[in-house]
């Protein structure tokens, strides 16, 4: 491996062995419904509490990813994961029965990208033959964590995003076939002073711009070198800001740039500015994006996970919302284009 500027270049790129996504009802009614591995009609996933429901959803994603790879749990080298709940209990309780080495991550909605970045380093270095990046979010558990109880009669402003009930898991392996992870750029915390909890897209867009810009500089590339550049999850507002920020530099992002928060739902689903939550970008990656790469529709994709690193405490204490964006460059082999 090699480092250029801020970017890690993997010389023996880890490959995506398998992936799986499990989502809730509303997500299953969205435009990507055909691409998910499992859609639950019941957002309780048969559990008594929303927290348990989230854990159940995540363990389902892990099980499905492993079974698609025909990989027994005992042969999985390491799991990297996290979620939005306090002390990441969603992930801990999902993985409690696995007995697999576990590294907990907190990157808010950027967790999938962060997990892929760290997992890639572990696999390429040879410490692990396989590693899994996993994350989840659940509308009902996140809502009370960050905002109001579910039955409280509040109104969501137009800039607010909808926390996705979704989980995604990616298993990486050394060698073999599959989509490669060729580069990764860890993000830096960027805080442009946005204080509104109802406008996370604005809080995170600057970090997305800065990480993507650094990656372009490090690799001497631009948006036209990629079939898809996708942030997750800036929503309508943040998506527009990233376009505007690059416009100032004379770079037109529009032809290839999209956002997971805009891909997961369609306009009629009443999600205001779009989706959010760790599970949003994870589920979009583990369904639409990786499928399209396997089918040769996309060959080079920049997956840029964006997280708002706030807590209700920091917000109550008047702190602005820091954002972060981790970037992972995915490439499919040429021959798949045939």
């Amino acid at each position: 491996m090699k480092k250029t500027g801020n970017t890690y270049c993997f010389q023996d790129p880890p490959r995506v062995l398998s992936y799986a996504s499990v989502v809730g009802k509303k997500e299953g009614e969205g435009p990507l419904s055909r691409d998910f591995d499992y859609i639950s009609d019941d957002n309780t996933f048969g559990e008594q509490t929303w927290e348990k429901a989230e854990s159940r959803m995540m363990s389902m994603a892990l099980e499905r990813a492993l079974s698609k790879a025909h990989l027994p749990l005992s042969q999985l080298g390491c799991i990297l994961g996290g979620d939005l709940l306090n002390q990441c209990i969603g992930t801990t309780f999902a993985l409690r029965p696995t007995n697999v080495p576990f590294l907990g991550l907190y990157g808010a909605c950027s967790t999938m990208a962060e997990g892929l970045l760290v997992a890639s380093c572990l696999v390429e270095s040879g410490f692990e033959q396989t590693a899994c990046a996993i994350t989840s979010s659940h509308f009902c558990s996140a809502e009370r964590q960050y905002r109001y109880p579910l039955e409280y009669g509040g109104q969501r402003p137009q800039t607010a995003q909808w926390t996705a009930t979704a989980s995604g898991a990616v298993v990486l392996q050394k060698g073999g076939m599959g989509v490669r992870i060729t580069h990764a750029t860890p993000g830096r915390i960027a805080d442009p002073g946005v204080t509104s909890q109802a406008n996370m897209g604005a809080a995170m867009a600057l970090s997305a711009y800065e990480t993507i810009r650094r990656f372009f500089q490090d690799t001497h590339t631009g948006p036209s070198h990629y079939d898809l550049i996708v942030t997750g999850d800036l929503g309508k507002v943040g998506h527009q800001i990233v376009i505007d920020l690059f416009q100032r530099d004379g770079i037109d992002m529009r032809p290839t740039y999209d956002d997971c928060g805009l891909l997961l739902y369609d306009g009629s689903q009443d999600v205001h500015a779009g989706g959010s939550g760790c599970g949003c970008s994870a589920a979009v990656l583990c369904s639409y994006i990786l499928k399209a790469m396997e089918q040769g529709i996309f060959r080079k994709v920049l997956f840029c996970g964006t997280g708002a690193l706030l807590s209700p405490t920091s917000c109550n204490q008047g702190q602005s919302i820091p954002g972060i964006c981790h970037l992972v460059c995915l490439e499919a082999d040429e021959k798949w284009n045939m």
């Binding site: 509303k26 929303w50 509308f139 009902c140 579910l150 039955e151 402003p157 909808w162 009930t165």
Partner: protein, 118 residues
């Protein structure tokens, strides 16, 4: 006519609150606090009594009316019990609503279960 006045009074109060929620940093929680305190103050300086006379339930049912009821209760309690009334009046006058909210909510929590809203 009484109903029209109630409708208009409550409508105006709610529309003003909505504008405050949409256009200022006041969250619903802060709006509620502001309105109750404002209700006490407006009643204290004699401005809310005419609104109640005009709007009836349209003025007493919104949270401004909660403040109004507290302030009226304080006045009455002081008239009856003197100094102590300053402390007992507010809670006594609103005790019904508060106790009802607590007790019904507790019973409701025992019977019902939180549901998915998505």
């Amino acid at each position: 006519m009484e109903y029209v006045r109630a409708f208009l009074t409550a409508g105006v109060i709610c529309a003003i609150s909505q504008v405050l929620i949409d256009r200022t940093k006041l969250t619903p929680g802060r709006i509620l606090v502001t309105f109750v305190v404002l209700g006490v103050i407006l009643t204290g300086i004699g401005l809310y009594e005419p609104v109640v006379k005009f709007g009836g339930a349209g003025a007493t049912v919104p949270l401004l009316g909660f403040g109004y009821t507290m302030a009226e209760g304080v006045k009455e309690a002081i008239a009856q019990r003197g100094f102590l009334g300053a402390f007992t009046g507010g809670l006594t006058a609103t005790a019904g609503g508060i106790a009802a909210a607590v007790v019904f909510s507790l019973i409701g929590a025992l019977i019902f279960k939180s549901r998915d809203r998505s």
